[in-house]
């Protein structure tokens, strides 16, 4: 079961990286892809902490979730501001 979750996280990360490479038009899609990669790597960290009986990756996962949340909030602010000034679509 644990190895299945590991493989799942790896697949999501690879999907995200290919998405970053393919998609160059839409800012919102880039932000969504970034969040996807972050949560997939958090899943891998949590499974690793169960395997190794180690507490530190849990703390690391908490830090990473908090950081990416704050970064996402500021990013949405910037994108809304950009949309209001440019008066066009976000592409």
């Amino acid at each position: 079961m644990k190895s299945v979750v590991n493989i799942y996280g790896g697949i999501v990360i690879i999907m995200g990286i290919t998405g970053l490479a393919i998609n160059r038009r839409n800012i919102l899609k880039i932000v969504i892809i970034i969040e996807m990669i972050v949560f997939a790597s958090c899943i891998i960290l949590i499974v690793t902490s169960i395997e190794n009986n180690d507490q530190s990756p849990l703390i690391a996962a908490m830090y990473i979730i908090a950081i990416s949340g704050s970064e996402l909030a500021i990013g949405l602010t910037i994108i809304i501001r950009y949309y209001r000034i440019k008066k066009k679509s976000i592409n």
Partner: protein, 376 residues
């Protein structure tokens, strides 16, 4: 103490500006005092932070002085973000764990993202570019941390240095940091961001946003070797600037080639002289517009002997020749000669016009510091 005073600044209303200035000055002094003397904080954070060294502190105090100069011009809520970025930079310079480094990088770059929000079209586009680049680099850093933890089981830098078998593992983390400072395969955003932003924000990105990461990357370079990246960086910085005609974009390409030198050997004199020169030029673009100051600084960046830029380049080359890297030294000298072209073009176009600018005390002092450095 720092958090309490930050909250106090945030709670004070717009009317009482004097009070906010007073608290800000107190906050700066506490940052200086605390990072120097507080032993308890070092004991608590000893797992993830190194003890503050003297050389790191000098650079931090230097940046704080520059910040005070910039803050004198207008007092707004954005100044709290300056302080956040400085705090992040100081934590980053003294961090010895990958997760502490991640938190510090985010702390300094979130402040810069907020400061970049402006009303003009060009500035907001540059802000969006900087945000996208920064978030992609932080995501790659997270992936690198996960890969290293999965294979080795530790995240502290000393533990990695003891346990790492293959050097290719660190390349993900180093790649994310190189994206952030704009080294060569990832250098396309630099000229756009420098050219688009307002000048005071360009000062922030080129000084605070890069010093901390360069100091942090110099701890990781000992683990893996990046000579090839340095060669590409220096060549792209020298060739790319030749076809540019705006001063801020030229300064962007100049920053690319100088970052190649700093990655080669992170000597303090070189880092100092480069950031002093950038700040002088940007201040001259912003308000003072004194032509002698720009000319002296350009000669210093090009590496003409009595000035401080020559001494920095001399030190880097001396260390490289002692350690026996002759080919790298030749490549660096050649590209430095090529990049002299665009510095000299700025000087020529200045000498064609007449001098109209005013002289202020601050630029005069900094320019004289460049000239007289050799006597001190």
């Amino acid at each position: 103490m720092i958090t309490i005073s930050i909250i106090a600044i945030a709670m004070i209303r717009r009317e009482s500006r004097k009070m906010r200035t007073v608290i800000m000055v107190v906050l700066i002094i506490t940052i200086i005092m605390e990072s120097r003397t507080s032993i308890e904080a070092i004991e608590i954070l000893g797992g993830i932070l190194e003890k503050q060294k003297e050389k790191n502190m000098k650079m931090g105090i230097y940046i704080i002085i520059i910040t005070i100069i910039i803050m004198r011009q207008k007092l707004e809520e954005e100044n709290i973000m300056y302080l956040f970025t400085i705090l992040g930079m100081e934590i980053l310079m003294s961090s010895k764990d990958l997760i502490a480094g991640l938190i510090a990088i985010e702390l300094q770059s979130i402040g810069i993202y907020i400061m970049n929000i402006k009303k003009s079209k060009r500035a907001i586009s540059a802000g969006v570019i900087y945000y996208i680049i920064g978030s992609i680099s932080s995501v790659i850093l997270i992936i690198g941390i996960v890969v290293i933890y999965k294979t080795i089981g530790v995240t502290s830098i000393e533990g990695i240095r003891m346990n790492l078998e293959s050097k290719g593992m660190m390349i993900i983390i180093i790649m994310s940091l190189l994206i952030k400072i704009g080294a060569a395969p990832f250098h396309n955003w630099v000229a756009d961001v420098y050219g688009g932003l307002t000048t005071d924000r360009a000062i922030i990105i080129s000084s605070i946003g890069k010093i901390g990461i360069i100091v942090y990357i110099s701890k990781l370079i000992m683990i893996s070797n990046i000579n090839m990246i340095i060669v590409i960086t220096v060549i792209m910085g020298a060739i790319g600037g030749i076809s540019e005609y705006r001063v801020k974009r030229i300064m962007g390409y100049s920053s690319i080639s100088n970052i190649g030198w700093m990655l080669m050997d992170e000597s303090r004199i070189y880092v100092y002289q480069y950031f002093i020169s950038v700040i002088i030029i940007m201040m001259n673009i912003m308000n003072t517009k004194s032509s002698t100051s720009i000319i002296i600084t350009m000669f210093s960046l090009a590496g003409i002997p009595p000035l401080i830029g020559f001494i920095g380049k001399l030190e880097v080359m001396y260390k490289m020749i002692i350690s026996g890297e002759y080919i790298m030294t030749m490549i660096l000298i050649t590209t430095s000669v090529i990049s002299t072209v665009y510095y000299l073009r700025i000087i020529i176009s200045i000498k064609k016009g007449k001098e109209k600018g005013k002289r202020t005390i601050m630029t005069a002092i900094m320019t004289i510091y460049q000239m007289v450095y050799i006597m001190i």
